[in-house]
Symmetry: C3
Subunit: 266 residues, 3 copies
């Protein structure tokens, strides 16, 4: 069964699970996973509270399908199409405004590493390895790596990590801020799913607001951002989620976030 014949996305308990790579083509980025992922992300309704990104083969994602690049009649056109498909996936991931969790086992190289840099929470194990992997085939980055990485480690270290094609261990990845936390290699998927489920049943209206504020902060001055924050916190306080959050706090009970979720679905 090839990628095209199987479903690479599924929804379970509020979590939209997307396989960005499979065992096919050396666990390289799956164009079919991108296509199905884009459709699922764009059509997601309020029943989706979190996204879980996984690889279904031996790695999270070992990068682009280099054999496919080599075999293309017009390499330039092929790369342009593949990159644009990949980037539409990243744009859809960025637009959905629900928490994104990545279960990063084995290699996350090239496009795989690019994806990890977009995840709100990235679980790794001792066997996880990140690598830019672009210059080793004479290429330049895609998936936004040249934009996200400098915002984590600064421009100089970003250039270094990409230029030198450094293999980054899980521990180093956490130290640099590229990965969130390390669990056992065989616990990565379970832990990532557990957190994704928990977040999917959390205060999703607040999560959407947090996602928007943080992402929009990039092009704003501090003062402009505080105006946006004031508008957002004021609006949040009268949503079902914000009302329940404050009431539960005062009444010293656990908030029932399903109130907000139900309201959002109406």
């Amino acid at each position: 069964m090839t990628d095209n014949q199987q479903s690479l996305v599924r929804v379970e308990d509020g979590v939209l699970r997307i396989a960005v790579a499979t065992a096919e083509h050396g666990t390289s980025l799956s164009p079919e996973g991108m296509r199905q992922g884009i459709d699922a992300l764009r059509s997601a309704g309020p029943e989706i509270g979190a996204v879980l990104l996984v690889g279904e083969g031996a790695n999270f994602c070992a990068g682009g399908n280099v054999r496919g690049f080599a075999a293309a009649e017009d390499r330039s056109a092929h790369l342009f199409d593949i990159a644009n498909l990949f980037h539409d996936f990243i744009r859809a991931l960025d637009a959905i405004a629900v928490p994104v969790v990545a279960a990063v086992h084995g290699w996350a190289a090239g496009a795989g590493m690019s994806i990890v840099l977009h995840a709100d929470i990235a679980f790794a194990g001792p066997g996880t390895k990140l690598r830019a992997a672009y210059p080793s085939i004479g290429f330049t980055p895609d998936g936004g790596m040249s934009w996200t990485l400098p915002r984590v480690v600064g421009l100089a270290r970003a250039r270094e990590l990409i230029l030198t094609d450094a293999v980054i261990s899980a521990e180093e990845g956490v130290r640099l801020g590229l990965l969130s936390r390390i669990v056992g290699d065989d616990e990565i998927q379970g832990e990532a799913l557990r957190i994704a489920r928990t977040l999917a049943h959390g205060p999703t209206a607040a999560y959407a607001g947090i996602h928007r504020l943080v992402n929009e902060s990039v092009h704003r001055s501090l003062s402009e951002q505080m105006d946006a924050e004031a508008a957002s916190i004021s609006a949040a306080s009268t949503t079902p989620t914000g009302i329940e959050g404050v009431d539960a706090f005062v009444e010293k009970r656990r908030p029932d976030w399903s109130l907000g979720a139900n309201a959002a679905q109406q």
Copy 2:
């Protein structure tokens, strides 16, 4: 005695000390501290060489007064007013261009954590804990947290820390770059005051220039910033502070920064 009846700001030896929270209302952000702080920051003359931010209760600041939110007749209007008052405080803090030191003991949650992210130097102790604390009541951040945090740890880790409402230990806070250094819990205020005093009697004209250059760098290209740096260092070299600094270096003696301070006051 309530907050309104006591002075939450005082000037001592060149240091403007502002209490951002008191024991009242569960060590939540003090609107009176904000009001008095704004007035003091805006009217500060050259006699003020540093700002020291403290909490007067058991914590630095445990966040907004959630009971106050719950009790408000119009929650949305109340939150809007509170956030704008808070943001005017942050703007005044940002505008004064003297070093800002925070003595962060116990919890710095929500608005408290937001304030810490604006301090040039943030002292913590083993008992210090940071927490975004917004989504747990169904809210989104304020105080500029959605702007400052991504600039320290990148967008993904910023979203993670806010979304998951992670409790951040002092050690983790230093590792992430949110806190400066750890001393004993009962030494935090003393050490913070000591540094604030030292800075208040330092080369304040240079400090003001450093503050402006770093903050203005956000929206400039590297080349534009270097033009601003060249203008600034050239101007600095003929201020009393810059003349004294260079002369003292060449004469192998300690600079007398009071020369610059006196000149600035004239």
Copy 3:
């Protein structure tokens, strides 16, 4: 022999080596090194594949020549000229788009620390020490330090490191992301040269693209950057470098990057 009489730049095996300071004037920033460096960087052709920055005295670079500042008839004009010369060097370094390696032994203070922050790879040893060093003479930063540093550690820690004039050890420098790696003090130059040579014979067309993408990312949105990345990776795939990279990968052999280098020289 003074700086003016000797050559402070030389090309060896594809590496442009520039001495930013010599034993003269207390290992301070060498204006002659800047002038020769600017000329060499601007006139560099495809035979240059990497830049190596070194100090030829006891330190990498101990900062500006403060005695020279003191002796200037017009300090303001002198500082303006020196800063602009220095900044033209940084601009030329930024424009050449080949990997920049710094061999940072001993002190990298003031302008020396500024230079380190522009290097893609900065080698240090246990004896390496960084220090902003501007406020101690009543000055404000130059060399882009007020722009690069906040992008590595955030605005607050950047202000702290500059304001407090902290001495930063090699270990702390690596932790903060200011330095790349630590080797023995007497291995710094050798290791830096070795890496510079390796990079000089690598996929230089890809390195140039990586350099441009990362640096241009600063003022772009994520979506705009991904458009630039798609154009770049598509173009790379049909350069001699990109063709050789993909072909070698598929044929399971080491790529011969001289193909790309030769092509670039034609």
